[in-house]
Amino acid sequence: MVQALNSALDVMLARDPDVLIFGEDVGYFGGVFRVTDGLQKKHGLTRCFDAPIAEGGIVAAAIGMGAYGLRPVVEIQFADYIYPAYDQLVSEAARLRYRSAGDFFAPLTVRTPYGGGIFGGQTHSQSPEALFTHVAGLKTVVPSNPHDAKGLLIAAIEDDDPVMFFEPKRLYNGPFDGWHDKPVEPWSKHPASDVPEGHYVVPLGKAAIARAGADVTILAYGTMVHVALAAAAHAEVDAEVIDLRTLVPLDLESIVASVEKTGRCVIVHEATRTSGFGAELAALVQEHCFYALEAPIARVAGWDTPYPHAFEWEYFPGPKRVADALRAVMAA
């Protein structure tokens, strides 16, 4: 997935002189997760460069550049460090178009690794996507595999609105289905690792069916898509797994079509449960599919605690917990 993201950035730098990349350690070094590796060398010092450790400054500068007419792509080294930029994102990037009645807008893309599974403790594991889906004016994207990561990132960069692009860091170097005792698998064995060269787009606002099934719909994104697939296998349930890919704007049509077919719905995310994006999904499913539902909607999420170092796998909502929810929903 790292190479796919790198390729998306490479393609866009080559295609559009108005695209530029900056962030902490992304220039010469190529980023702490290597996503921008080689880009400075290939495209030049002013196309991909390091930034001061100031997330608020990084986003603010990107807004200014966006207002000028550039398409900045900035990296926040870990989503856990995005909060100093929150005001610039919420009050500024999200509302610039609205408050100026279209006079100004800022087409920036904010890439940031998120999520757990790497023993990173509370400052390298968080999933703060709901803090952004709650904000009118921001789009929020979460890829789950290399093919989508590249196509979605290109779509995000080409989009004229500010896009939050959350990269599941546990998926950077291989699919991870939550069975943490199993040997790590590389992406190369996965069908979605087939990444076309050059420019292509996976449109924002379109979900994918990761597994077609008849009995229950699982709504997931990012790492949890793989966990959901593993859980369905573990529980031996014919689940339909929907990979949302974009949280805002959401592909409600695909969700409704699936739940109307299956009559059951389990929602999973790594983020803390209370006011998580799952709450929004549950409300929508209830509003749109109430008469098709044969069981209460279930949510499997991170516990409402900070992400703890020693309890990584008790915290992480792995396939066992998701399978339990599937069985409960099937029994209801």
Partner: protein, 409 residues
């Protein structure tokens, strides 16, 4: 406008990258003892030279010279030397343990030991220090049990942080050591608040805060200086300039155009730039700033000029972004070697004693290691899983109780 200059974007770059020759000659340090020691009631503007120069006490011969010589007795110096050596031995072992898979992460402060160890001995422990992850030397200098530090690093059943934090995020209120945050710079304005509270209560205690060169770019750094200036807070604001912030050289924090200490002048705060590898200079500057704070004269900014000889962390490989021989060629030397030389020059130390002490600190760390590893390393032993749900709030609300029950713990 027809003749207007075409603008171009400036992006700074360090002098040397891997493969390039290292030339620190432009950094040739000024002689020790050159700068005067101003009265503690000094006006910020009158510390201009101190903010742009370099306060040094130890000269190349290992003698302590000039007005900043803190005239410490040999016992304190030997204590400082021992603390620095113990810190280095501790770092070496824990780095190795991470490499052996016994924990997830570790960070060394190699080459920067004087910064934390001298301050720890210059200040009483009822002052409150707001550290970064690179001031472990402060705990070690104050004889915080090594085994407890290790228990934390291993997240084992005896971890003082109860398995909740990544390694090296110590907390030790009784040692005047605030809980370390992983979010850079946040502690800097908090220290100012602690100092304001002390002033508000008519207390006599002061606060001291640390921040890395790279982290001075955060808004929190500037807010700290503003608040410290506005409320004349009794706080020492230390910037540890170890030249690097992961792969970013100090130029990305604006050091190409000025010094970090000089930032303080703009806020009206007396500011010092200190040879951070000179134990005596760090001690003296800390004492001076503490005197000022205790006399109700307000805050001081101190830049400690040093070099991060180690990788940023166990996740880092510095050979990818800086020449490997930089550390060795660092013109300010090594803090342990320099203090050792001074003690020997004073006739208070010897090569033989140094060797013996080196063995002793390694043995002390090894013994603590055995004790901690007997409790367990990461994954072998840990606090009870139900502690995951505790201390989120003072009292556990119903929803956390329900979640704990759902997990079955």
């Amino acid at each position: 406008m027809t003749n207007a200059t075409k603008l171009s974007l400036h992006v700074p770059a360090p002098k040397a990258r891997p493969g390039d020759p290292v030339d620190f000659s432009p950094l040739t340090p000024p002689p020790a003892g050159a700068l005067g020691r101003p009265d503690i009631a000094v006006h910020a503007e009158d510390t201009r030279d101190h903010a742009r120069g370099l306060i040094r006490v130890l000269n190349d011969e290992g003698e302590a010279v000039g007005a900043w010589n803190p005239r410490l007795n040999a016992e304190v110096l030997r204590e400082g030397l021992r603390a620095m050596m113990l810190t280095r031995a501790f770092d070496d072992r824990m780095f190795r343990m991470q490499r052996q898979g016994k924990t997830s992460f570790y960070m060394k402060c190699t080459g920067e030991e004087a910064v934390a160890c001298a301050a720890a001995l210059a200040l009483p422990r009822d002052d409150m220090c707001f550290p970064t992850y690179r001031q472990q030397g402060m705990l070690i200098a104050r004889a915080y049990p090594l085994v407890r530090m290790m228990n934390h690093i291993y997240s084992n059943a005896a971890d003082p942080n109860r398995g909740r934090q990544m390694p090296v995020h110590y907390t030790a209120k009784a040692y005047g050591f605030f809980s370390i945050s992983g979010n850079l710079a946040t502690q800097f304005p908090q220290a100012v608040g602690w100092a304001m509270a002390s002033a508000y209560k008519g207390d006599t205690r002061i606060a001291t805060a640390y921040i890395g060169d790279g982290s001075t770019s955060e808004g929190d750094f500037h807010q700290a200086l503003t608040f410290a200036s506005v409320y004349r807070a009794p706080v020492i604001l230390n910037i540890v300039n170890n030249q690097w912030a992961i792969s970013s050289f100090q130029g990305f924090a604006g050091a190409g155009e000025s010094t970090f200490a000089a930032r303080g002048l703009g806020y009206g705060l007396p500011s010092l730039r200190v040879d951070g590898n000179d134990f005596l200079a760090v001690f003296a500057a800390t004492q001076w700033a503490a005197e000022r704070a205790r006399a109700n004269l307000g805050a001081t900014v101190i830049e400690h000029y040093t070099y991060r000889a180690a990788p940023h962390s166990t996740s880092d490989d510095p050979t990818r972004y800086r020449p490997a021989e930089e550390a060795e060629k660092w013109p300010l030397g090594d803090p342990i070697e320099r203090l050792k030389k001074h003690l020997i020059a004073r006739g208070e130390w010897s090569e033989a004693k140094h060797k013996a002490l080196d063995k002793q600190v390694v043995e002390e760390v090894r013994a603590a290691g055995k004790e901690s590893e007997a409790i367990g390393t990461l994954g072998q032993s840990r606090p009870s899983v139900k502690e995951m749900f505790e201390d989120v709030y003072k009292d556990q609300p119903w929803h956390l109780r329900r979640q704990r029950q759902e997990l079955g713990v």
